[in-house]
Structures are given as structure tokens and as C-alpha cells.
């Protein structure tokens, strides 16, 4: 009995929700009510960027299945020897941890932005940017290590040449995104600290920057899963 009521209540919620969506879309002026146009624009851009990364990853998977030479074992290639012991994927694990942590600090920065806490917002954004810079630094280290081991875009000693090629292309493109994000975060943090947004009364830049940053993190999760764990 109580379950039936709960279900019908849920159905009402869904109907009400759908009605609100319909009302928003059939309203004048704005589809996304009380949403900064920049935020809407960032969402649409991220949708487009999703297609770029999807194309990269789908192409990578296609190449991997149709490559004529054996695919190298990622767990062996991406292992580090620490204290005489080879630990698989240790660097990637740390990199992933760092990047996910940066999403945490970013979320806190957005929260403090809502509260108009100028100093904490700026500090947390700088922390996010530092995490991002750490990530790019470790990626540079990983690239150097692979290049020293003879991995090149046109071939590598472990197997299919597509391995190195797609590794450099995809992580390079992602690293480029992270680098752009770091620069953007620092610029916004600088403006927050200077009090630009207190004067204009509009902190949405922090949130828009945050959207981009979370997206870059999310993409990394997919790259991590498809490239390193597969």
C-alpha cells in the first residue's frame, strides 16, 4: 500500500518534471531559465568537444582491433620500477588521483564563489590549477620515459606502431586541454582575487571554468579506462 503511494508519487514527480521541461522549452526569451548565456554556451561547447574525444577514442579502438601487429601490454609498458620492484600503472594511478582531486578543489571553489568568498575562491582555484600543472608535469615525465624506451609515433619496440601513435595523439590532445584549463583557471582566479566579479556582481565565470575543468577530468577517466586498463 505504502509502496503503491510512493510509486504514484514518483510518477507525479516525473510528470511534473516533464511538464516543467516542456514549459521551459516553450517559454519565450530563455530556454534555460536564469542561466547565464556563457554557461549554456560552455555546455554546448563541451557537447561538441565530447564528439572530438569520442572520435579519437573510437578511432583508437578500431585501429587496435584491426592492427596487424600485436598490441603491447599496457600494464607492462606503463610500469615503474620503484625500490627494485616493477609496479604496473603506478604513475597513471597517481596522475588520475591528482586530477580527480583537482575536481574536488574546483567544486569547493565554485561553492565559495556562490557565497561570494573572494579569497577562498581564488585560493582554491589556484590549488586546482596547481594540481592540473602537476598532472601535466607527470605526463611529460611519462612521455620522456616512453620516448627513452624507443616509442615513436611511427613505431615502437613492443608491437603495433598504432600504440605509440594513438598514445601520443590522444594523451597529447588531452594534455593540451588540461594546459588550456590551467591557464584559464589562473586568469579567472586572478580576476576573482582582484575583485572584478564582486564589482560586476556576477561570479558565473568561476562556475563556467569549473564546468570545463570537470569535463577534462571526465574525459581522462575514459582515456584511463580505454587506454591503460584495456
Amino acid at each position: 500500500m505504502s509502496q503503491a503511494i510512493a510509486t504514484s508519487g514518483q510518477a507525479d514527480d516525473i510528470t511534473a518534471g516533464l511538464r516543467e521541461v516542456t514549459e521551459d522549452w516553450s517559454a519565450d526569451q530563455e530556454v534555460f531559465r536564469h542561466t547565464h548565456w556563457g554557461k549554456a554556451m560552455m555546455w554546448i561547447f563541451l557537447l561538441s568537444d565530447t564528439f572530438i574525444f569520442s572520435c579519437f577514442l573510437t578511432s583508437y579502438m578500431t585501429m587496435r582491433t584491426s592492427a596487424t601487429m600485436p598490441w603491447p601490454n599496457a600494464a607492462e609498458v606503463f610500469a615503474l620500477t620503484i625500490g627494485g620492484q616493477s609496479i604496473p600503472l603506478i604513475l597513471i594511478a597517481i596522475m588520475t588521483f591528482v586530477l580527480i582531486s583537482s575536481s574536488g578543489t574546483m567544486a569547493m571553489a565554485v561553492n565559495f564563489g556562490y557565497r561570494r568568498d573572494r579569497k577562498k575562491t581564488a585560493a582554491l582555484m589556484v590549488a586546482t590549477a596547481l594540481f592540473g600543472a602537476m598532472f601535466v608535469g607527470m605526463q611529460a615525465f611519462e612521455w620522456t620515459k616512453l620516448i627513452e624506451e624507443g616509442v615513436r609515433p611511427w613505431g615502437n619496440p613492443m608491437g603495433a606502431p598504432q600504440f605509440g601513435a594513438s598514445f601520443f595523439m590522444i594523451t597529447g590532445f588531452h594534455g593540451f586541454h588540461v594546459t588550456c584549463g590551467v591557464i584559464m583557471l589562473l586568469i579567472i582566479a586572478h580576476k576573482v582575487f582582484r575583485g572584478d566579479y564582486d564589482r560586476s556582481g556576477d561570479y558565473s565565470a568561476v562556475e563556467i571554468g569549473g564546468l570545463y575543468w570537470h569535463f577534462v577530468d571526465l574525459v581522462w577517466v575514459f582515456i584511463f579506462a580505454f587506454f591503460y586498463l584495456w
Binding site: 522549452w25 516553450s26 517559454a27 519565450d28 526569451q29 530563455e30 530556454v31 534555460f32 536564469h34 542561466t35 547565464h36 548565456w37 556563457g38 549554456a40 554556451m41 554546448i44 561547447f45 557537447l47 561538441s48 568537444d49 564528439f51 572530438i52 569520442s54 572520435c55 579519437f56 578511432s59 578500431t62 585501429m63 584491426s66 592492427a67 596487424t68 601487429m69 615513436r152 609515433p153 611511427w154 613505431g155 603495433a160 606502431p161 598504432q162 601513435a165 594513438s166 595523439m169 590532445f173 556576477d202 558565473s204
Partner: protein
Amino acid sequence: MATTLADDLKPLHHPKTWIGKYVWSQDHKVIAVQYGVTAIAIGLVALVLSVLMRLQLGFPGSVPWIQPENYLQYVSMHGMIMVVYLLTALLLGGFGNYLIPLMVGARDMVFPYVNMLSYWVYLLSVIVLVIGFFVPGGPTGAGWTLYPPQAITEGTPGYSWGIVTMLVSLAIFIIAFTMGGLNYVTTVLQARCKGMTLMRMPLSVWGIFTASIMGLLAFPALFVAAIMMLLDHLAGTSFFMPTLFSFGQTTDTVGGNPILFQHLFWFFGHPEVYIVALPAFGIVSDLISVHARRNIFGYRMMVWAIVIIGGLSFLVWAHHMYVSGMNPYFGFFFAISTLVIAIPTAIKVYNWLLTLWRGDIHLRVPMLFAIAFIFTFIHGGLTGLFLGNVSVDVPLSDTYFVVGHFHMVMGVSPVLVIFGAIYHWYPKMTGRMWNKTLGQMHFWLTFLGTYAIYMPMHYIGILGVPRRYFALGETAFIPDSVALANAGITIAAIVVFLAQGLFFFNMIWSLFRGPKADPNPWGAASLEWQTPDTPPVHGNWGPKLPTVYRWAYDYSVPRPERDFIPQNEPPA
């Protein structure tokens, strides 16, 4: 909180200097004209290339400096320029920029600075493209589809330098389009004026809006394909390159997947057809409605047809690849999805006809072009049904039938709409009227010339004449009539080419000497004709934004003063 320009909270920054007004301008109308002029200029290059190709085909050897490799280069550059740099840029960058803010009642795009940047990056892509004509080896001759491995293999014209400028230019173009497209989509979603609901927008805006979304989702595939091919060529990767035996030696590339490029290319390439077609569909609906003094038949159906065509177009790409060697069962799926698109498309065509039905049709020049579009589009669409079926496509593939089909459906049809649209909005854009007689001469020569050019191509295509061939030579299955048809096509093409001179003369002469135009010469109800100034000034609407009370299609209203109700007229 939400500070859109439409809220009138953020004052527009009016430029003081001539350069700020007309060169580094952030006004959507100036950017639109910049886009339009650049696109038409590079389109003229492609038009000249097509005439050179026709000279070789119609009268082989008549122009001694057209060598086989030049011919292939003309084919490739003509195709790519027309599809991407002319049609996409003109319809979205040109008409999108001009019409969206005016038609939805905004002062400008939501992010004018990025909009300006979009144009300058587009110009850069055009410059890089043109540089391709002057690099050693000339532009690429790989065909507009740029299929690897031949695109970057020795023996193809422009395989070393030309292909690099082409791919780099495409990547730059995509960046430019993304900046513009984000603006178009966001402006439509978030910056409409009071009363302007999505379902009150003119169909032109719907077409451009849907096409912009499609562009944002389809161009990434081309971007990725371009980057991967550049790496194949410059960094020696083997993404698309299998091991080849070339000039007595095996190449260094191992195990690449050339079909992957085709999938990526057509995942962009097929939506691209509709990125060009949907704005044309939208614009032509408005032209027909205004000049037939009838409300558009089945407005809601028209909107949903646009959206459904846009969605379906992402599920049909491999119908360009029936003969690529992919799994035949794929062909089955893609043939079905291709033929399903015919349903919403047919809905649109019937609705155009039903709008004309018992309408008060004024055969002015824009209307002539709009009706001509219905003809060419039906013809091109019907041949599409042939090519969409696997078993019919296989023998027709890579013949002149295909050339006739796509020129009819996505070459000529959008171009006719573009002409119609330019004639239609010219009085608003310039404040002056063009010459009617010249316009009519231009129309009849272009329209009849179109049929003289492309109808015979279907015939020689069914005979089996292959496309992209420099010369046919002595071949048993090709009768003499083909040479005659080719000569006729070439003569028609030259006539049409020269007829465009009438258009350019008319436009430029009228700009300075044309009579002053009425602010709303066609009696149109949509918002862009209700601006306080003609041509509209920066900010579009004077001190107060308009308020919209109705849709854009209230025509043939029985009342004495005027037979239409503008969108911003309050209810009596």
C-alpha cells in the same frame, strides 16, 4: 543573474572609428557581410575551376595547359571549396549571422567578440587554402573526399604540400565554425525577445539553428580525421596507412585502416549535406510564404521535419561507402535509414506545395528562385532514392549519375535559395532595390542552364561514364553521343557562368545607384523587417527591444490598410 544582451542590461559598445565599425567589427550584420563576401569570393575561384574542368571534358585538349594532374586538382578544390568554404560559410556564417539576431529580436549575438574572431579565423582558413595553389606541386588532387592512402602517397598531385595546406585549412575552418556555431545556438536558445517562443520563430531560424547544432557535432569527426591524416603524413604514423607496395618498394607504414578515414569523413560528410540543406529549407519556406501571401502550411510539421532530418542524418553516413568493401549487412541498415529520411523531406516538399496552393503568388525574383529550388530539389531528391539502394547504387557508383545527383540536390538547390535570399533581403541589408529585369534575366539563365548542365549528366552516367576522368579516350561502351552531350554541357556551363555577371553587376550597381527601398517592400511579417532603421544600425532595435505577439506567418488578412500582421503588432 542572467545577463543576456536581450535583457538590455549590458550596453553595447559602439565603435568610434571606421576600422572599428567595418573591419574589426563586433556587429553581427557587418560580420555577416564579411563572411558573405569572403565566401562568395572563394566560391568564384571554385566556379572558375569548374569551367576549366568543363572545357577539358567538353572539348578535350582545347586548353593545352590543363594536364591530367591539374584536372584532378581542380576537381578536388572545386568540391571542397563549394561544400565547405562557400555553402557552409555563406549559409551559417553569412545568413546565420545576419538573420538570427534580427529574426529573434536580439541586439546582437550573445558573445560578439567571439563572433568577430570566428570570421577572422575563417578568413585565415581561406588564406591557407589559397596558399595551397602556390605551394610546390600545387593543391591536392585526391578528390574532395581526400581518401587515404592515395591522398598522401607519391603519384597523387599535391601529395606532399597541397594535402597539408588542405588539412590545416580544414582544421582552422572547424575552429572558426565552432566559435560561430556556439554563438548561433546560444543566441537562439537564450537571447530571444519577449514573446518570441521557439515555436514562433521563422523557419529560417529553425533551419540555421538545427544546422548549427549539427555542425557542432559533425565537424569534430572531420577535425579528428584531418589531424590523424596530418600525423600520418608529417609524423610517419600508420593510422590510415597499411603497408603499400609503391614504386618497387614497400612503405614503412604498417597495419593502418583506410576505411576508418572513410567512416570519419562521412560521419562528417553526410550531416554536412544537411548542414547546407536545412538553412536552405528554412529560408525557402519563408520566401514562399511571404511571396505567396499564405501562412506556411503545417508550421509545426515543418519544424519537426527539420529536427528529425537533422537527427536522422547522423545515422546514414555509410551510404557513401557501399562500394568501399565494408560489411554488406551495414549496407542494408544504411539503405533503410537513408530511405527513411525521404519521409520528413517529402513532408517538407508537400508543405511547400500546399503553401503555394491557391496562394496569391507574386512571381518576383526571390519567389522565382524559391520555386526553382522546389524543382531542382525534387529532381535531386528522386535520384537520391536510386543511389540510396545498395543494388542500384553499385553499378551507378562513381559515374556521372552521382555527379548529376549531388549537384542537383546539394549544389544547385542551396545556391538557388542563396540567390533568392540575397534578392529577398538585399533591400533590408542595403536600403536599396536591385534592378528587376536584370534579376529576371539572371534567374532564367541560371535555372534553365542548371537543367541543361545536369540533366544530360544523368544520361551519360547511366551509360556508365565514370566521373573524375581527365579524358575518356577510346572506349567501346561509350557511344559518340557522350562527346556531344559533354560539349553541350560545357556550352551551358559557360553560359551560366557568364550569366552570374548579371547578378554581380546588379548587386554592385544597385548598391550605389539603385532606387531607395521601402523598409518592408514585400510586406513580410517577420521581425527583421520591422526594425526602426533600414538598413538596421548597430543594436538593431533603437531604445526598446520589440515584443512579439504572434507567429511570423499572418498573411492575407482581410483588412484595408495592409494584408499582413507583423509579429510585433499587439493584438487589437
